[in-house]
């Protein structure tokens, strides 16, 4: 936010490069904006103002010496699930309220290496489990478009921070829609790369076979710039994939003539709001005007099973990943007993919130003796079918287009008592994680002032095509340029 206007990464880069503005000025302006509005939005768990200004000073020195990357000196917000050396990383959980990582995540090393500036750590659903940020142990983040509504989740703080002009871009993580659904709710651009494209080293694990880090930005061009910076093979993540990373900005040609785009019927689920259906159909018509060949009758018949597959696999992996919180090595620790087992049980009773407990219970049950075959193994097999189905469809189509979320942002408190209703919020994004595909959510309209998002899904490691389609759409629409008034 500079002189009342929010800059994109590429705009800020131009100003920095031509020395019309310094990184210190940009960073101070962002910190002022946070100071002014975060009491209302509550997107941020920890503001790292001093550090940000120090990093900005260094960035200005880099720029002065001619050493400038598109992200150098640009202030960003980081989801509080990504480890930042020496800076509290809480996962918005009481369990990690005072946890200070002794090392940086790979994405942070990459950003630090090119002189990026970190403004702070963004609020989220506890351990990234949720779709509204209401599961944060600290506070609920508010949607900048309507403060009485949720920003989506789990990366709600990261999405709201960009939507509210508190940061120029941010990082989030996406296990079942945790980048795309809040991007849709906050009317920003949110990208989940292919599983294996961005290193998960230093991303606090929720469901290891589904988690992926990605950016929130104000447009597709900026998403390409952040992806360029954070993608790539990393030996410290054994599921990272060693294939070349293209320059993603090169694919943004605006030309999608002759491109084959499929619209899978199953994604227009029962109960989807009519305003969402209408906005997405209108958006797809725009792609057709641009010369894309649209097939409205694509079918992915196993889609209705994706939600059940996800809510078996993700909690199962979570129950194993979260076994590490035992009150011994780090984190909250119950001390008021001499019994080791009691200490461990009480540590987890008081350290975890209700949704995290629910998922640990669900996962433990699905993996327990006698139920493993019926639940976990069955889910893994249906996962294969879902993945194969996508593979087949992608032989005929270059990309798929769907709504991101079945609804516009809902009211705070509306779904907290009914876990299944909350889970349904991710029905259009979950299949993508199950198959490990790249997908983006971009602003595609409003209904009575509330944002609607469109999802574009691509082949594994074909981020370029996803970005190309989304970018072409943004050349002929201006939904992504609208800003929440705060």
């Amino acid at each position: 936010m500079l002189n009342g206007r929010q800059l994109t990464i590429s705009e800020a880069y131009k100003l920095l490069k031509t020395k019309q503005v310094s990184s210190v000025e940009l960073t101070q302006a962002a910190l002022d904006r946070i100071e002014k509005i975060d009491l209302q939005v509550k997107a941020i768990v920890t503001v790292t103002g001093e550090l940000a200004l120090e990093q900005a000073k260094k960035a200005d020195e880099m720029i002065a010496s001619g050493n400038i990357n598109p992200l150098t000196g640009i202030p960003a917000m980081i989801k509080d699930v990504i480890c930042t050396k020496g800076i509290k990383t809480t996962c918005s959980s009481k369990m990690l309220e005072n946890f200070i990582p002794p090392y940086n995540a790979t994405v942070m090393e990459k950003l630090n290496g090119i002189g990026a500036v970190m403004l702070g750590k963004a609020n989220m659903d506890e351990f990234a489990m949720g779709s509204s940020t209401e599961n944060s142990a600290f506070f609920t983040t508010h949607n900048p478009w309507d403060l009485s509504r949720v920003p989506g989740g789990s990366s709600g703080g990261s999405a709201a921070a960009v939507a509210a002009g508190e940061a120029i871009y941010s990082l989030g993580s996406d296990t079942g829609g945790s980048i795309r659904q809040p991007a849709s709710f906050c009317s920003v651009t949110g990208f989940k790369p292919t599983y294996g494209r961005v290193s998960r080293y230093g991303l606090i694990a929720f469901a290891s076979s589904l988690d992926q880090i990605g950016p929130f930005t104000q447009d597709v061009n900026d998403a390409a710039l952040v992806l360029n910076a954070i993608s790539g093979y990393d030996t410290r993540d054994s599921t990272s994939v060693d294939i070349p990373v293209p320059d993603y900005t090169k694919c943004l040609t605006g030309n999608i003539k002759g491109m084959r785009i499929g619209v899978p019927k199953e994604y227009f689920v029962e109960g989807m709001q009519k305003v969402v259906v209408d906005a997405i159909k209108a958006s797809i018509a725009k792609l057709e005007e641009l010369g894309a060949i649209i097939d409205w009758n694509v079918t992915l018949p196993h889609t209705p099973y994706a939600l059940a597959v996800y809510y078996i696999i993700a909690p199962s992996e979570a129950s194993a990943n979260l076994a590490r919180y035992d009150g011994v090595k780090y984190g909250y620790s119950y001390q008021d007993t001499d019994n080791m087992w009691e200490a461990m049980e009480k540590t987890r009773e008081f350290g975890f919130g209700p949704e995290v407990k629910r998922r640990i219970m669900l996962g433990t049950y699905a993996l327990s003796a006698g139920y493993y075959d019926a639940y976990y193994l069955k889910a893994q097999k249906v996962r294969t079918l879902i993945r194969n189905e996508f593979d087949e469809v992608f032989e005929k189509y270059d990309a798929l287009v769907t709504p991101t979320s079945p609804t516009v942002p809902f009211k705070i408190g509306e779904k907290t008592q009914d876990p299944i209703q909350m889970y349904l919020s991710d029905v259009c994004t979950i299949p993508v994680n199950i198959a490990g595909l790249p997908a983006i959510s971009i602003p595609a309209g409003f209904a009575e002032g509330l944002p609607i998002g469109m999802q574009v899904i691509g082949r594994p490691f074909d981020e370029a095509t996803v970005l190309k389609v989304a970018h072409a759409y943004q050349q002929v629409t201006d939904w992504h340029k609208k800003r929440a008034e705060l």
């Binding site: 946890f99 200070i100 002794p102 090392y103 599983y195 294996g196 290891s208 076979s209 030996t235 054994s238 599921t239 994939v241 196993h302 099973y305 939600l307 059940a308 809510y311 078996i312 076994a323 009150g327 011994v328 090595k329 780090y330 984190g331 909250y332 620790s333 001390q335 007993t337 001499d338 019994n339 080791m340 049980e345 009480k346 987890r348 009773e349 008081f350 975890f352 407990k357 629910r358 640990i360 219970m361 669900l362 433990t364 049950y365 019926a374 639940y375 193994l377 069955k378 889910a379 893994q380 097999k381 249906v382 996962r383 294969t384 079918l385 993945r387 876990p419 299944i420 490990g436 594994p460």
Partner: protein, 95 residues
């Protein structure tokens, strides 16, 4: 299927997860509802389908055996709730 109170307590014990009375009651009902929604999977024919553990075909990651600096003991122990010299302090394991 409906989870009994005993089943809920059994799973909680496996997960080393303490639950309040209230949570035990609520969890039984909520988990039962969620599990009921999973039943749809039984309609899918998965004969001869191999399970997917993660989406990409992967090979083993091998590293050369090179000595590199690691975290210092102070860094590793920095977040320990109870520290005793260069050790994590734990409750009595064997009485």
């Amino acid at each position: 299927m409906k989870l009994s109170r005993e089943q809920v307590l059994h799973i909680a014990r496996l997960a080393k997860l303490g639950l309040t009375q209230d949570e035990v009651d609520r969890m039984g009902e909520q988990l039962s509802n969620i599990l009921e929604n999973f039943e749809v999977l039984q309609n899918v024919d998965t004969t001869c389908v191999t399970p997917t553990a993660q989406p990409n075909a992967l090979k083993n990651v091998l590293k050369d055996d090179v000595v590199k600096p690691s975290l210092t003991q102070d860094e590793v122990l920095g977040n320990a709730p109870q520290r005793d010299g260069d050790f994590f302090r734990v409750k009595v394991v064997l009485e």
